[in-house]
Symmetry: C2
Subunit: 392 residues, 2 copies
């Protein structure tokens, strides 16, 4: 019997003051919960999502006739569920869609209640800190004063880190996976190229593409292709694709025993499997992801930099933190390299915080944080079993 | 007195049979020469260019009034010239623009003699091997039977390697810098994203943008931005740009002593210096580089794989090579990593070839091959002084 997930939506009428100075008068948050909140409400774990994920962290959806919807597993279903590293038999786990995203919470694709029209490009710029404040409002509504843990990978790890800084009394543990305390110039550069591809697509229409009954698909495809390259390691890309040519229809030379086919000598045909893979990923993404959301979320990544207000000192920025941390990195992750996780670990240790650090030797690059790696999952499981549960 | 460069053009009427099976009935090659060819014609050095360079390797151009044209230094002027590592006081150096390029040799922006119209997208797909054959025809015309050395960086290094394989009796030395015997999946992936950005630009018009009186500038900008990210190392990008914000007009908070300005909270404004740099590089490139040429040259990079015809064995592919090699790599070059150069070195050693290898600890990534690094230039100078000159 799989875990059945159900999306709920909460409208919050308390205005949200954003870091930019703008105010969101009211907003909706889509979320899911798994497991049971215990009587003293001390077993809540909040999962924060990265660029293109959602509140649907774990479990599956069922159709009206009770059958399981195909391919509806949550994005971190290997990590969260009954008996899994984050065990929903013991923890009350909350998945939340961030505002500005496009999977149910208020964002560019939802209606602006003040105008009755879709927000589109007018949705305000949101930051990691704003997301944490909105998540805190959700917890208030659920009656949860303190989280047993907040957890996330990549941009989700930034939110977990920010939670411990913004609400030191509301977080006992922060689990920060494949993340960093800010982006490097190279990461900002990749985000910027992706954004330029989107906004220079003639179908972008200054972000009001829905009003023009179109979508900036070309730009989204390019953005996603760039993203995919940076999520994988060079090694795993060579292993998965290498220089293998894509099998052509009616091509007999590439049969299992024959020699590899010759090139087609074309600049636009798909020659290599890696090209086919990237085009497919780009096409798929362009159909379901909102372009304005892509701009907002990559910008939130760029902006996150808690040390900025402390003269660049991460140690000073973490001075008020009370939570204990589990920090995890992956050796082949060149987008959020282990050295960036170690910076966070050092700054926490300078503040005499309790920190566990696991550097996992995994070949999969940044994507590793989503994959089912035994050592990685064991480290998370052990932390939740021994550290997080311990304090209940 | 600087070295004065002058571009010459040779029309070759002997048809060129291309690897694709197509034939170029006749073609022009733009080239420059520096220094004097000695009586026995034994001191010629051919320099092969990479993606966006040309035959203008060294020296400067002078205007009609005899003044030096501003910013007209050749792309490898720090390497080639009188008294420089490749010393034009002793060697007769030839710079050549490859066919398919856009700086004077026959390519998409020149006229197809059979139709009298610009080639545009109809220029045939060319490969590294085709370029080497065209360069050999140029040498024939110059009466040069054997090169003292052939040299190039990146894609230019692939041509140097291919020279030694295609014309083993015509090359005494090959100098291969920041290169590889084929591209990795990741490199192909970056090329493919750049190409998709170009061909999906509505101004591309299936490659016949000139006939539509436009240029696919959006696509070229994106392509160049991606390229620039991959030419630099993460380290040098952090050092040159880091997370520094771009100074705003009339902004006083970023004066030398004040605190850093706050963000503008915008998804499209230039916030970071790295964004400003990339946009500038993209804009500049889109004005001078031809889009069809970009497609052709990145495809030549993808296709180069001499081991492919030898069951994947680079050692076997190099079996007929007679030249000695200098191979140079740079520690922070993640596009053509040192491990790729070492593959080439090993395969040459398996063939009992004479090989010198220098792995330069330089912070500049792939770009390092164009920069004036003392250890790098010393290694090249020593090789030309002791090995190449020795045999004259």
């Amino acid at each position: 019997m799989p875990l059945i997930a159900e999306t709920k939506t909460l409208r919050i009428s308390e205005p949200l003051a954003l870091q930019s100075g703008a105010v969101l008068p009211s907003y909706e948050i889509a979320y899911e919960t798994y497991g049971e909140l215990c009587a003293d409400k001390s077993n809540a774990v909040l999962i924060c999502h990265a660029l293109n994920a959602s509140h649907h962290v774990a479990g599956v959806y069922v159709e009206e006739d009770g059958t399981v919807r195909a391919k509806s597993e949550g994005w971190w279903d290997n990590m969260v569920g009954p008996g899994k590293p984050v065990d929903t038999d013991r923890f009350f786990v909350i998945g939340v869609n961030n505002i500005g995203s496009c999977f149910g919470s208020s964002g560019p694709t939802t209606l602006n209640p003040e105008t009755g029209r879709m927000w589109g490009a007018d949705f305000p710029v949101v930051t990691v800190e704003d997301w944490v404040n909105a998540q805190a409002a959700l917890l208030d509504a659920l009656g949860i004063a303190q989280l047993a843990a907040v957890m996330g990978g990549s941009l989700g790890g930034m939110q977990a880190t920010s939670w411990a800084m913004q609400y030191p009394d509301r977080v006992r543990h922060a689990v920060v996976v494949a993340s960093a305390a800010n982006l490097t110039a190279e990461n900002i550069a990749f985000n910027e190229v992706a954004r330029r591809a989107i906004v220079t697509d003639p179908d972008f229409h200054e972000g009001h593409y829905h009003a023009h009954d179109t979508l900036p698909r070309r730009g989204l495809r390019i953005a996603r292709m760039i993203g995919h390259i940076t999520y994988l390691s060079d090694d795993v890309m060579n292993e998965k694709f290498g220089r293998r040519l894509r099998q052509l229809a009616n091509d007999v030379t590439q049969a299992s025993t024959g020699p590899e086919r010759d090139f087609q000598f074309s600049t636009q045909a798909v020659e290599f499997e890696i090209e086919s893979y990237l085009r497919y990923q780009g096409d798929k993404f362009a159909e379901y992801f909102d372009a304005n959301t892509y701009l907002l979320i990559t910008r939130a990544l760029d902006y996150f930099d808690p040390a900025k207000s402390y003269g660049g000192s991460l140690t000073a920025a973490l001075g008020q933190v009370k939570a204990s941390f589990l920090v995890v990195s992956f050796t082949t992750d060149w987008r959020f390299a282990p050295s960036r996780s170690r910076e966070l670990v050092r700054a926490l240790l300078h503040n005499q915080r309790r920190v566990s650090y696991a550097e996992i030797d995994a070949p999969h690059g940044h994507d590793a944080f989503l994959l089912d790696d035994g050592r990685y999952h064991s480290a998370v499981r052990a932390y939740f079993d021994k550290e997080v549960s311990h304090e209940r």
